[in-house]
């Protein structure tokens, strides 16, 4: 079979498949090491020294977070600003803030948030995306939710809503009561505030910038 072409040889294609798969897998593993370093959580010292981390430490809840256009990168990025009170305090220690975040992240899974909402854009599409929910104008002092829940701060309004969601309907499609306790609600709000500080490469685009009328309403 001297004149048989390699292109019709099963062994050739078997080896090609093994080489291509191996090469792609090694590249993925190498990139995984690089990415893992870049998305590891920052520390309190990073925040105090102004070191920018893609995923800041839990004590980011002590600071004001905004979402602003970065002209160099061509999209919006979270900006961590001056100190801001969160449930009346801006001095949460690394341990306290970490515990709150831990409780909130566990809560987000224990209540199946992701099976109605999207988090970082992943999940179900039955309810609003929560990636930057902390920065949503609806929860600001000018928005409707503080007045509706009778609370004076964003975090208290959010915690109230999470505990008694069907008391405050915003649409025919309502959030059900999931048995969220006051402590769990506080943790969940910390989790949402932390998530809003993650550098998501400009997703979602123009978040909270457009408050104009739709169809001339």
């Amino acid at each position: 079979m001297a004149n048989k072409s390699v292109w019709s040889d099963n062994r050739f294609w078997q080896r090609s498949a093994a080489w291509v798969t191996g090469f792609a897998a090694i590249l993925l593993i190498w990139l995984t090491f690089d990415t893992s370093g870049q998305i590891s959580m920052g520390s309190d010292a990073d925040l105090k020294n102004g070191v920018t981390k893609r995923v800041p430490g839990p004590t980011v809840i002590n600071y004001k977070i905004t979402y602003e256009m970065d002209t160099k990168r061509g999209h919006e990025v979270p900006v961590i600003g001056a100190k801001e009170k969160f449930f009346g305090r801006d001095d949460y220690s690394e341990k306290e803030a970490g515990d709150l975040l831990h409780l909130g992240k566990l809560g987000s899974q224990a209540k199946n948030c992701m099976d109605c909402h999207t988090l970082l854009g992943n999940g179900a599409y039955y309810a609003p995306d929560l990636t930057k929910a902390w920065l949503d104008p609806a929860w600001e002092s000018t928005g409707s939710m503080q007045a509706m829940t009778g609370k004076n701060t964003k975090e208290e309004a959010m915690a109230e809503f999470l505990q008694f969601p069907s008391k405050y309907p915003t649409h025919a499609r309502m959030m059900p009561n999931l048995g969220i306790t006051a402590a769990e609600a506080k943790g969940l709000v910390a989790f949402l505030k932390h998530m809003s500080s993650i550098d998501t490469n400009g997703f979602p685009r123009n978040f909270g910038k457009i408050q104009g009328a739709l169809n001339g309403k």
Partner: protein
């Protein structure tokens, strides 16, 4: 389930897996209908079976019935490929009952307990709350043990018997399929790290190992149903493996655009995921070309009639060739580039893609394998279509296609209004979801979902009755 036409115990075990898979498939459609009704009538079963619960059951049932049907497919083809009885079949049968019982417990807990307090006990015993792999940790460990048992049987049989190309591919693929699941079994406070590894499970299943699996099943089907030449089919299979893993493994980058991961994933994800449709085109050509080639050769030999020995199964294999290319390939490519995905990520558009891709790539071919098992169990030489099998194929395929089109139109509203126009806020979301095209899209999705479910009833009727039908050649 027992059949005196099956001389291999491995094939008997396969029929158990297929039977359980068909039941869970029905559960998937029922909970899908509940979720679809809730989009149209939000008060339906509110605070009884909420959307989140209906959806968990919808997508977990999807994964479970497919995994059961995949394991069933392997147990079915092993004796044909290796020429021997599956090694460790007694353990295989025991593991089936363990697996099935565990699934029933998980489902009952989802349905009756639903949520738990924000602590580790919920993660261990109720739900992990991570889309597709919500199964609590105890079940994760159980699934790993069961699947390792299955892989042990596969390896022992493949090494003792004749390791054909198809079996070799399945051995490598199933090991990767099981190994990847381990990446989804830990808890972290860092949501970016969480989602990074979560995609290892989801993406490397559905866009890599599962695709290679259906490539191997399609190869087996072509050999057994139309008499395609093994050497040709297995050469195609190796080319498909190279193309699928070559594009699919790094195509994972398209899930790393917006979850906190670095910008270089834009380029890597865009490039490799744009290549992902190519193997699906190759698989499409493979199936249709081989069919034409075998039919043409038979015609030249002066043989009248079709070369296909199992009409309903082959119909579903052809639907797979179209569905995989359209659902995974075309609908996937629509929104895979980061410039587009910035606006389409996490909208009804994703849902449209998800429905047609899971159905087109996997549901179709696994239904086809169930028909292969029905043929074998009843000792039928040529299994023909019945009125029910034709009605089922039209209604299920048409229903899912209809849902996909409806969700695509809803997706455009979501992308343009919720995202581009309103900037994705809470108010923006409900502006998008109050739009007329969104509301009508959801109405049509429900209607098409009902059509799909009626098609499923025809399918079950056919599964239960076609074996005794006199139209087949025995």
């Amino acid at each position: 389930m027992a059949s005196n036409h099956l001389k291999w115990e491995s094939k008997q075990l396969a029929t158990w897996y297929f039977t359980f898979a068909a039941i869970i498939f029905g559960a998937q459609l029922l909970f899908g209908l509940i979720a679809a009704i809730q989009y149209v009538m939000p008060g339906f079963l509110f605070e009884i079976v909420d959307f989140s619960i209906a959806r968990i059951l919808h997508i977990n049932a999807l994964v479970v019935w497919m995994v059961f049907a995949m394991i069933g497919s392997v147990y079915w083809l092993l004796p044909d490929e290796t020429g021997i009885e599956t090694v460790g079949i007694k353990i295989g049968k025991l593991l089936f009952w363990v697996f099935a019982a565990a699934i029933v417990v998980v489902v009952l807990v989802y349905l009756l307990v639903q949520v738990g307090p924000a602590d580790e006990t919920t993660i261990w015993f109720i739900t992990e709350g991570r889309e597709y792999i919500e199964a609590p940790r105890w079940a994760d460990i159980g699934i790993v043990v069961v699947v390792l048992g299955f892989i042990g049987n596969l390896y022992a049989t493949g090494m003792k018997g004749k390791p054909t190309g198809i079996v070799t591919v399945l051995m490598a693929d199933m090991l990767a399929f099981a190994g990847i699941y381990l990446a989804g079994m830990f808890f972290t406070d860092n949501i970016s790290v969480d989602q990074f590894w979560w995609w290892w499970v989801i993406h490397l299943w559905v866009e890599a190992t599962w695709e290679v699996f259906v490539g191997a099943i399609a190869a087996y089907g072509l050999i057994t149903m139309i008499g395609a030449h093994r050497k040709v089919v297995e050469m195609w299979l190796w080319i498909e493996v190279a193309m699928l893993f070559g594009s699919g493994i790094l195509g994972m980058g398209h899930h790393y655009f917006w979850i906190g991961t670095p910008e270089y994933w834009w380029e890597i994800g865009a490039l490799f995921s744009a290549l992902e449709p190519l193997p699906l085109v190759a698989m499409f050509i493979h199936v249709l070309y081989d069919w034409g080639k075998q039919q043409g050769a038979a015609h030249q030999r002066g043989e009248e009639g079709s070369v296909i020995t199992n009409k309903p199964a082959f119909t579903w294999f052809i639907l797979q060739a179209f569905g995989n290319f359209l659902g995974a390939g075309v609908w996937g490519f629509f929104h895979t580039l980061p410039q587009v995905n910035l606006y389409t990520h996490g909208t009804q558009f994703t849902s449209a893609h998800g429905h047609l891709a899971f159905f087109g790539a996997y549901a179709t071919i696994l239904i086809g394998m169930m028909y292969v098992a029905i043929q074998g169990s009843n000792g039928i030489k040529v299994l023909k279509h019945t009125k029910s099998s034709i009605a089922a194929a039209w209604m299920i395929a048409g229903g899912v296609m209809g849902m996909t089109v409806a969700l695509t139109i809803a997706g455009y509203v979501d992308v343009i209004v919720t995202r581009a126009q309103m900037g994705a806020t809470w108010a923006g979301y409900f502006d998008g979801h109050s739009g007329m095209w969104m509301l009508q899209g959801m109405d049509w999705r429900l209607i098409m979902g009902v059509v799909t479910f009626l098609g499923f009833l025809f399918l079950i009727k056919d599964f239960l009755s076609t074996g005794k039908n006199a139209v087949h050649i025995r």
